[in-house]
Amino acid sequence: MNRASAQVQIHGWLLLLPAAALLALFTHYPALATLWHSLHSTPKGVRPAVWVGLDNYRGLVEDPVFWQVLGNNLWFAAGTIPASIALALLMAVWVNGKISGRGFLRLAYFTPTVLPMIAVANIWLFFYTPTYGLLEQFTVGLLGLPSHNWLGTKSTVLSCLIVVTIWKEAGFFMIFYLAALQAIPPSLGEAAAIEGAGRWYCFRRVTFPLLMPTTLFVLVNAVINSFRLVDHIVVMTRGGPDNASSLLLYYIYDVGFKFWDSAYASTLTMVLLAILGTAAILQFAFLERRIHYR
């Protein structure tokens, strides 16, 4: 190897080194350590952790709360992802066109995105409060329906959280659709209009297919968020009543930092990592196709 090339090698690695070291310490190492600790017992007092093989995983399969929480998370994902993506697209199409009050509309749709989830949760907690909350004032005061404890009832609590999440996320995803819409040349729509295509037809056959890469990008982000964001649960329900609103990451937090059962928390984290890893592989497969598409 000649001197210039050796220098390139060394410089390249030196430039990368600080970031790589931190990434290794706080992303790669913990991911591997999670696996290692999930195969051990939780150290208690003077008793150190011992190798237990797959015992924690056996416990996981037999843990009804785990299955309940996983089910909740799937419902939560199914409730938030399609709705927030559809709303985001609708919002983007609206504020991209000539509509009166466009500035205000954009502002109204996007503002929830800038607020911390914890602030959002506080505001909505008040909104859902029995008797005093705006929702009860509307349903009981105006419509005369019987009073209902929205967050305190197992059948409605998860839906309430889904609504909050959609409210928070739709405006964020709208931005990506808006960027994509602005990149589509207007001549395409005009050409379709000359051919006599209606607006809906044009959207369905021209615009929507062109937005496919954006939809995939937003979809992946929405999936990650549905497994990553639990701030609102800490504030609004603490997973209750009876774990009806607990999600996987919140359960990990409970097990790891309230019951201090770190081995089982690691086992649960492995499930979460498996879900996110699957999402990564799917995205990679789709991204490959996207390159061919262009």
Binding site: L16, A19, L107, N122, R228, Q283
Partner: protein, 266 residues
Amino acid sequence: MTRALETIGAWLLAILWILPLAYAFWTAFHPPEFSTRFELFAPLTLQNFVNAWNAAPFARYFVNTVMLVALILGVQLVLVTLAAYAFARYEFRGRDVMFALVLVQLMIMPDVLIVENYRTMAALDLTDTITAIGLPYMASAFGIFLLRQTFKTIPRELDEAARVEGAGSLRVLWEVYVPLSRPVYIAYALVSVSYHWNNFLWPLIVTNSVGSRPLTVGLQVFSSTDQGIDWSIITAATLLTSGPLLVAFLLFQRQFVQSFMRAGIR
């Protein structure tokens, strides 16, 4: 006809979207007896904000959050710039593998590795410090990716011209690449600041004293323990904590939206 219907629909949705926030504003700026009663001429007041400010060490929380956000952004900008430069312009052995390893963080974010990262912080004796909140986020895969793409679009001729004039690698980076990528830096900084201003779960886990708690955690501690159900004060505190970001957003709306757009196009 459909146009008119769409306009009405768009406005209804916007009003629905702004309603929870408007409700919070109403409650925060009116005396408690009006917090759930709507009268057009109810007296306005700032007393709720004063009460909230005095009831908890919000000044300290503000300082903590500003320090946290500045620390993370400062370190991020340096690390991300160096790494992106290496990936964009150096053909060193193992580059593609390293890049793939960096991208892993896009999927497996520090947000989900709370159990192990807490263990690490305890081992390093860093728990309950602002450094501990920031450390897992400082090498940002998203930032490295974003800047690498940007650096790759900068013509090599500019790079070579600077080198002919005798500039070393780091000076070329500082005088050619960094200035030409300014819009991307601004976009990244806005996204990073709003992310870490708002981040909650990890700071909640790793801090347990007033000296290190950021605003989000301070707000949660305040509204869950100190205040029964005095909603006027809680909403005032809520608006207080999100206030600076909200005001910045209203002032620089265009930059915010463009930054989020730029950060999303990849």
